[in-house]
């Protein structure tokens, strides 16, 4: 087949699969939460309620696409697109198998960090343009939270980069042939995981949209498909962070040969997605200042220390030392 066509096919495939997974996660989350909370969850639409997502989507598409009179119209429309775009673009660098990945960037890790920084704009602009005090408070909290947790996220990743000696995600997976990085990089993994929750602002770090305080935070004024984009964007974010954890710390598509690589990748990814959901089911939400001081006082020193020790070890054990 023409390599260009193959490339486009991969691209479309990844896009479709990821958006479908994210949408499907809405169903998975609702069912899993129900299991953990002694109730049934959606079970009426289609077999086992599987068509619930479809029904929700139809509903959300046909809702009036209302923009508040007092909102800054252009920015208001732009904000939800940013979150979808930045996250979907990051999926381009993830190697799902040795063969399936949209682009093999040699700065894959940096590309991810850059994109997640841009994602913060979505929250800020949504909150700002809504012209609503609850949205604004949510946006202020969200931007502070995302910017500070990005710092530890980046530093915690550097341990992996130092060990693999590359920014290329393909090569990082290849480098894990003898040992998955979550063992030597356990501290880094934990910091990355926590920062990942904060990046996707999921419970317990859903402070920008804390329901009992800020109604719906930065997306209070959104409805219809624009709200849908924030909603799906959140699940895309979970999928992305889970995929990255798998790639960086759990050997990516690696696994015993009785299953194809892509299946291994998806299995590992779903385990982390379920952990995300389980955390939502079990933890309360810290206060905003507690979150910040936890980040700067505990996670930052921890990730720096991790980087320092990793670097020292790599240098010490380097061949020719």
């Amino acid at each position: 087949m023409n390599p260009i066509w193959a490339h486009i096919l991969t691209l479309v495939l990844v896009l479709l699969v990821m958006v479908t997974i994210a949408a499907g996660l809405i169903y998975v989350e609702r069912r899993m939460l129900a299991v953990w909370q002694d109730r049934l969850g959606p079970n009426r639409t289609g077999p086992f309620g599987l068509l619930q997502v479809l029904a929700d989507m139809i509903k959300i598409f046909f809702k009036e696409d209302w923009i508040p009179k007092f909102a800054d119209k252009r920015v208001f429309v732009l904000a939800p697109m940013i979150i979808m775009m930045t996250i979907l673009m990051t999926f381009a660098v993830i190697p799902f198998t040795p063969l399936i990945s949209v682009i093999n960037l040699n700065i894959g890790v940096l590309f991810f960090l850059a994109m997640s920084s841009l994602g913060a704009y979505s929250v800020v602009l949504a909150g700002w343009s809504s012209n609503n005090k609850y949205s604004l408070l949510g946006a202020i909290r969200g931007s502070a939270q995302m910017l500070s947790y990005e710092v530890f996220m980046g530093i915690s990743l550097m341990g992996v980069v130092v060990m693999a000696g590359t920014f290329n995600l393909h090569d990082i997976v290849m480098a894990q042939h003898s040992i998955w990085y979550f063992i030597p990089q356990f501290v880094g993994f934990i910091v990355f995981f926590i920062a990942g929750i904060a990046e996707t602002h999921r419970l317990p770090f859903d402070i920008p949209e804390a329901e009992s305080e800020l109604v719906a935070g930065y997306h209070s004024e959104y409805s219809g498909m624009k709200f849908g984009m924030f909603f799906v964007g959140e699940y895309l974010g979970i999928t992305l962070i889970s995929a990255l954890i798998v790639t960086l710390y759990f050997g990516g598509w690696r696994g015993p040969h009785f299953l194809p690589p892509v299946v291994w990748f998806l299995i590992k990814m779903f385990v982390f997605i379920l952990i995300f959901i389980l955390m939502r089911a079990s933890l309360p939400r810290p206060r905003y200042d507690q979150l910040m001081s936890y980040g700067w006082k505990i996670l930052l020193p921890l990730s720096l220390l991790n980087l320092l020790i990793t670097g020292a070890c790599v240098l010490y054990f380097a061949p020719g030392h």
């Binding site: 909370q37 317990p204 009992s212 939400r285 810290p286 206060r287 905003y288 507690q290």
Partner: protein
């Protein structure tokens, strides 16, 4: 010397012999009529009296006397202001009445003596039109600002049909909307502090964190709370006004709905106040049944609080589990009472029906089931370190502050003061039960939560004792005022048949007098103050609910904290808006 003679002679020594008029009431509270000129001095004397002071303003309300038939021996009065004070050291109340004779009555404010008087005086102004001189912000509190008239005056119509059709012409609509404009000055709030402009955030009346239709106007510096002004009254249904139209018997279902999580706990003080007025002795079995059912409702109410409190702090799971357990309670309640949340089950002189066959099994099953759930919640919520981080040291107040603001119930016990009316002034046979009073230490959100959790365990103990020692005998008194009287007895003699006929068709007639009765309800001390004018309806029903002063306290304890802390405080105070607004 009795407590009444004791305090009356102390007052006479201080202010002179002829200055007060005593009134005999069925509840045997010392009831003194005092002129408006000296009431503030008397209140402040009683609060600061050296020997066992009356530290808490328990209630402040009024009576419109213009339609009274029987008030022999009482001073001439058009409006009577009633102050009820509580002394913890004496373990007794005192009631002071102030007669006001003019058509535009006014009296000096008591807000300088008790902070708690603020909202009570506003309510009296709103409901009766009595002015309080020197009150810091005398606005309507329950009714809309544009309301014409004062609802609890006897001349004010009780029903919409008495008021003519509602019309909203354009100019009136504009007027109403102009009144809704938020002007910080009217609320007593400043726009700036120093050089900083402050932000106002309107929280509610529809907000997921306020648990009902409550509006809070927050004055914020960043996310820090400078001041809060609560706006209540959205849930006002005129429960006290309704009582003046219902017979003594048909008012019982309305009490169910005053604190809608409390169910029969609300019937409890009402029927006991009526029984006191009528001098009805109720059989032991009815007493124990009443205790058992009201303790079930205490657990049920605390379970709602437990789940929603955790949810306010971002935990989503407990609320599903606690509501599931609450359903288990409702299974028992509906098997016994025939309904779930508002069973309307207590009757004047007893309870509606005897316990059904097999009730022991249902109660036993619940007693066996519930403790392990409480353990699970302890693990999930109370021991969670994030939960502790959100609640320990937040919304702290001392016992003195709590008493000054009229706080009762778990909110008072969380400060370390073991005051529980079930123990201190036992009613309905509580003196025969073994249970402890859980108390906290610091008076913060966590302690308030802890006290409630322990209370559920104590309630379970009480229920277990009810199960083991349920006395036999009647579930209803044979007193002629019992409503409705037991049918089988009516078939034996003409006297009870006549009573049955009258009590069922007109309702019982209670002798003219007055009585108050209070119980340790789910949220705190809930009392009903009933005045009978010798007819089938109450002349005045005053419902003193715990949530009203508790909500008034919220701004005071929230200053300086942030919005997330406010949610923790609101959750830990555990008010119910229907209980606030009545």
């Amino acid at each position: 010397m009795s407590e009444t003679e004791n305090i009356v002679s102390a007052l006479q020594n201080e202010f002179g012999a002829g200055f007060l008029t005593l009134q005999n009431t069925k509840d045997e509270f010392p009831t003194c009529w005092i002129s408006a000129d000296s009431i503030i001095e008397v209140l402040s004397y009683l609060k600061n009296i050296h020997d066992r002071p009356y530290k808490m303003l328990h209630d402040l309300s009024a009576i419109d006397e213009q339609a009274r038939n029987y008030r022999q021996g009482q001073p001439e009065s058009r409006f009577t202001i009633v102050y009820t004070l509580l002394s913890f050291e004496r373990n007794s109340f005192i009631r002071l009445k102030v007669p006001l004779t003019s058509e535009n009555p006014s009296v000096r404010t008591a807000t300088k003596i008790w902070n708690a008087a603020n909202w009570y005086e506003r309510e009296v102004y709103d409901m009766f039109g009595v002015l309080f001189e020197g009150h810091p912000c005398l606005r309507r509190i329950l009714m809309p600002q544009s309301w014409k008239g004062h609802p609890l005056q006897k001349c004010h119509p009780a029903r919409a049909t008495e008021m003519g059709p509602f019309q909203l012409p354009e100019d009136k609509q504009e007027e109403e909307q102009a009144l809704l404009q938020f002007k910080p000055e009217e609320w007593g709030l400043d726009q700036v502090s120093g050089n900083d402009e402050l932000m106002f955030l309107n929280l509610g009346p529809q907000h997921p964190g306020t648990h009902g239709v409550l509006r809070l106007v927050l004055q914020l510096d960043g996310e820090h709370i400078v001041n809060i002004v609560p706006d209540i009254g959205f849930h006002h249904r005129g429960a006290e006004k309704m009582a003046e139209r219902q017979s003594w018997h048909t008012y019982i279902p309305y009490t169910d709905r005053v604190e809608y999580l409390g169910g029969v706990m609300n019937n409890f003080p009402y029927v006991m106040a009526v029984e006191k007025l009528g001098g009805i002795e109720i059989p032991d079995r009815a007493k124990v049944i009443r205790i058992m059912m009201s303790e079930f409702f205490r657990i049920s109410s605390h379970l709602v609080w437990y789940g929603t409190f955790a949810q306010d702090l971002g935990m989503m799971t407990p609320v599903f589990l606690t509501f599931y357990d609450r359903e288990k309670i409702f299974d028992v309640v509906s098997a016994i009472c025939g309904d779930r949340m508002h069973p309307n089950w207590f009757r004047i002189g007893g309870v509606t029906q005897d316990l059904p066959n097999g009730w022991e099994t249902l109660v036993k099953d619940f007693i066996d089931y519930f403790p392990k759930q409480l353990k699970l919640y302890d693990k999930m919520v109370m021991k969670n370190s994030l939960f502790k981080a959100r609640t320990v040291g937040i919304g702290v107040y001392t016992t003195e502050e709590a008493i000054d603001w009229g706080i009762t119930g778990p909110g008072l016990r969380a400060t370390g003061f073991d005051w529980d009316f079930r123990k201190k002034q036992p009613y309905s046979g509580f003196e025969n039960f073994e249970f402890d009073i859980p108390t906290g230490k610091n008076g913060d959100c966590y302690d308030r939560a802890w006290v409630r959790v322990q209370e559920m365990r104590q309630s379970l103990r009480i229920i277990e004792q009810c199960l083991k020692n349920m006395p036999g005998g009647d579930y209803k008194s044979s007193n002629p005022l019992t409503t409705p009287p037991r049918k089988e007895k009516t078939m034996h003699d003409i006297e009870t048949l006549i009573n049955h006929f009258l009590n069922v068709t007109w309702g019982p007639v209670l002798p003219p007098n007055e009585a108050i009765f209070g119980v340790e309800a789910t949220k705190g001390y809930n009392s009903y103050y009933l005045i009978s004018d010798g007819s089938t309806t109450s002349y005045r029903t005053r419902i003193r609910t715990p949530s009203f002063p508790h909500l008034q306290f919220v701004p005071y304890i929230s200053k300086g904290y942030t919005i997330p802390d406010l949610m923790a405080i609101l959750g830990s105070v555990d008010y119910v808006l229907s209980d606030v607004d009545r």
